[in-house]
């Protein structure tokens, strides 16, 4: 029998477990359920899973607090479930250590896609690939070189740094703050206009149709993702 990653789902809604458990099982995962933050944290400490799906709206603990406590002893991927109109909550959770988020209500496909990305990026599962490919684009993080259709594309150092941070994310969302801090430094974490301009230029240089970006994708109000396809 092949390796089945264990996914801990912490959500107080029974209905969520009712469809997630069979869906996860059918997709080759082993699913563990918890309905309170306390129960989830206990399970997380006793039998660390390969990834966690955490609902931020738990009855017994503030979602942010649950995330903070989990991060004290658990380094694996954590995907949060949050409502669409709660940008601040999402951004807070992402900056507070969550790997990615899914908006409720969600389709199973979406959650599984996020899980796959996160598990691929799981620490210890191998060094990040030195070369990231996405359609026509090839980003060589080691050499600091970008090719499009095999031809070298000239990027400014900031653009390359930005592309590098995005590509290393391997498809997970990276918040504005994380990008600004990584590329321009902590002093510029509010200067979103740098980011807008640089993203626009990256798209001009790399996207097949800059008007319909397929690789550097906007999550309005939250951040950006780099998608291989």
């Amino acid at each position: 029998m092949s390796f089945r990653p264990r996914i801990l789902v912490i959500d107080d809604e029974v209905q969520i477990h009712r469809f997630l458990t069979p869906a996860l099982t059918a997709s080759g995962y082993e699913s563990v359920q918890a309905t309170t933050a306390a129960e989830g944290l206990r399970e997380l400490a006793q039998h660390p899973p390969d990834a966690v799906v955490l609902d931020l709206g738990l009855p017994d603990m503030d979602g942010k607090e649950a995330l903070r406590r989990a991060r004290e002893f658990y380094a694996g991927p954590i995907i949060i479930l949050s409502a669409r109109d709660r940008e601040a909550e999402k951004i807070g959770a992402l900056d507070g250590g969550a790997d990615d988020y899914v908006e409720k209500p969600f389709g199973v496909g979406e959650l599984l896609a996020r899980l796959r990305v996160s598990l691929r990026r799981k620490p210890g599962s191998g060094e990040p690939a030195p070369v990231v490919r996405a359609g026509e684009i090839e980003v060589d993080l080691g050499l600091g070189m970008v090719r499009r259709k095999g031809e070298r594309v000239r990027l400014t150092p900031k653009e390359f740094k930005l592309l590098g941070v995005l590509a290393e994310g391997g498809g997970k969302v990276i918040t504005h703050r994380q990008l600004l801090t990584a590329v321009w430094g902590p002093a510029h974490e509010q200067d979103t206009h740098y980011l807008r301009v640089a993203i626009g230029q990256l798209r001009q240089k790399l996207e097949p149709d800059p008007g319909v970006p397929v690789h550097i994708v906007t999550e309005a109000g939250v951040g950006y993702r780099f998608l291989a396809e």
Binding site: D85, P105, T156, D191, T192, H193, G211, P213, A220
Partner: protein
């Protein structure tokens, strides 16, 4: 003897004047009497120096002059005192036998009586004329002050502004300080007060509440607080309480009391402002009510339709699972999925609308590239646009704007969704992002039937759907009004134009103001 008589007259004079006098006024009053007495003394001295050779009538003239001067200068009280004293001293010093109050000659008695009568009459008439004149001046001053106060009060729009103006006007009229308390959610609250006074002590507040409850000022003896509270009446009802501190103005029956006139007028103005604000509250309530009934309508219809389909499909699947062909099963499952998505969209729209209506919308303005936001709106809308061609016309260089990306995305998405609703399969939706000197413009054109001219204006209204397409669209009719609300909250504008061609079509434009300078990054 003379002094005693004078004192008695003084006491009498004191009673003629209004009883509640300010201390200073009282001091001034005494000095007026003192000068009047002094003038009589001067008249006596003059008469003495002139010698007794002056005829009795001439002496009497001298004394009458003194009475007249007192009357003209100090009014009726001092004039009468002066008349009495003049008569007595005239008798005492100048009528035989001297230095007694007795009168020896019958002729002198007549002279004395006539003199006394003339002195009294002179004093009374002249004093009254002088008092009238002074009263007229006071009237004029009070009228002017009242006029100024009404001007100040008339300029106010809200109850609180009126309360503040009233407090200031009373304060300046009494040269003390004044506060105005209006009824609030829980008890009276300070609505008008001198600068720096923000709250009242518990004792004062209790006293004010007492006056508010009883509708009349507390008896002087029971007043414990530093403020004297008086009720403030409008035309119809009590509107508040006024607190006065410092010197209270004289209260007499005949002099118009500026303070009470101000109280009266202020009460009416505040009442009017209260009524006006109640009217606007009523209007807001009426609109909220309209929204609620619209919501109820839409929930009962627009939510039940997809729910019916979901429930029907799900029960069909569970009841006839084995008998259904795989293709039918897939169809039913797909319709469950689609209708659930539609419900989710409805709920999103209701939440957006309640954020707008609740006034809780605080756009998080950030540097935004509208092309990027259009892109993510198109991506989120995805399957809804299936079968329509999307034509993009984006300026290669476009200024950034200050906007809330999530609100802008929803605003654009709603217009695109509307375009998808009305554009038939195979039609084209055009999306443009351009800028002019002042604005960045997002234009979305559909190939729908167009909007009739008489409905164009109300296209951004809540629950507005084209009459011809009400059931087909399955929307709540909130999308465009949410777009308008969001865009305006970000400082932008929306506009609609239709028809675009003879076949119809509509264009929606979202314009967002450009910030003076678009920052260029450190690239």
């Amino acid at each position: 003897m003379a002094l005693q008589a004078a004192a008695a007259v003084l006491g009498l004079g004191g009673m003629i004047e209004p009883r509640r006098l300010r201390r200073e006024t009282r001091r001034r009053t005494y000095s007026r009497y003192a000068v009047a007495v002094g003038l009589v003394a001067v008249a006596n001295a003059c008469a003495y120096l002139a010698g007794r050779n002056l005829a009795g009538a001439n002496l009497a003239m001298l004394f009458l002059l003194c009475v007249l001067v007192s009357a003209a200068a100090f009014g009726i009280g001092p004039a009468l005192v002066s008349a009495f004293l003049a008569a007595l001293t005239y008798n005492f010093f100048f009528l035989e036998p001297h230095y007694t109050f007795r009168i020896a000659h019958p002729a002198d008695l007549l002279t004395f009586l006539v003199f006394f009568a003339v002195a009294l009459a002179t004093g009374w008439l002249a004093g009254r004329a002088r008092d009238n004149e002074r009263r007229t001046a006071e009237h004029a001053a009070a009228t002017t002050a009242l006029l100024d106060a009404s001007r100040a009060l008339a300029k106010t729009a809200t109850p609180d502004e009126a309360a503040q103006a009233l407090a200031e006007q009373i304060a300046s009229a009494t040269s003390g300080s004044a506060i105005v308390l209006l009824p609030g959610q829980d008890g009276l609250r300070l609505a008008g007060a001198p600068r720096g006074l923000n709250a009242l002590g518990a004792g004062s507040l209790e006293a004010a509440e007492h006056v508010w409850a009883n509708g009349e000022a507390a008896p002087q003896a029971e007043r414990s607080s530093e403020w004297t509270f008086l009720p403030l009446h409008g035309v119809g009802a009590r509107v508040g309480v006024v607190g006065l501190r410092g010197r209270l103005p004289p209260r007499s029956d005949d002099v118009p009391d500026l303070t009470s006139a101000l109280l009266e007028q202020g009460g009416v103005v505040i009442e009017r402002a209260l009524l006006a604000s109640a009217a606007s509250e009523n209007e807001a309530l009426r609109q909220a009510d309209q929204l609620r009934s619209g919501l109820l309508n839409s929930i009962s219809h627009d939510f039940r339709t997809p729910l019916t389909s979901i429930l029907g499909s799900a029960t069909t699947l569970s009841d006839y699972e084995s008998e259904l062909k795989p293709s039918v099963r897939r169809d039913l499952l797909r319709s469950i999925q689609q209708d659930a998505q539609r419900l989710n969209q409805h709920i999103g729209a209701l939440l957006d609308m309640s954020r707008l209506e609740g006034g809780a919308l605080r756009p998080k303005q950030d540097w935004t590239d509208v092309r990027e936001i259009i892109g993510s709106a198109l991506r989120r809308l995805g399957p809804r646009l299936a079968g329509r061609r999307i034509e993009r016309d984006f300026a290669a260089r476009l200024s950034l704007v200050r906007a809330d990306p999530t609100l802008l995305e929803q605003a654009i998405l709603n217009v695109l969704d509307n375009a998808a609703t009305y554009t038939p399969q195979g039609g084209t939706i055009r999306v443009a992002a351009q800028e002019d000197a002042r604005n960045v413009l997002i234009a979305i054109e559909d190939e729908g039937p167009g909007i009739p001219p008489d409905e164009l204006r109300s296209v951004f209204d809540k629950f507005k759907r084209l009459r011809t397409a009400s059931d087909r669209t399955g929307g709540l009719g909130l999308g465009l009004s949410i777009t308008k609300g969001f865009v305006e909250a970000m400082g932008g504008r929306v506009a609609a134009a239709s028809p675009l061609t003879s076949a119809g079509g509509a264009r929606f434009v979202i314009s967002l103001p450009k910030v003076a300078e678009t920052p260029r990054g450190l690239l």
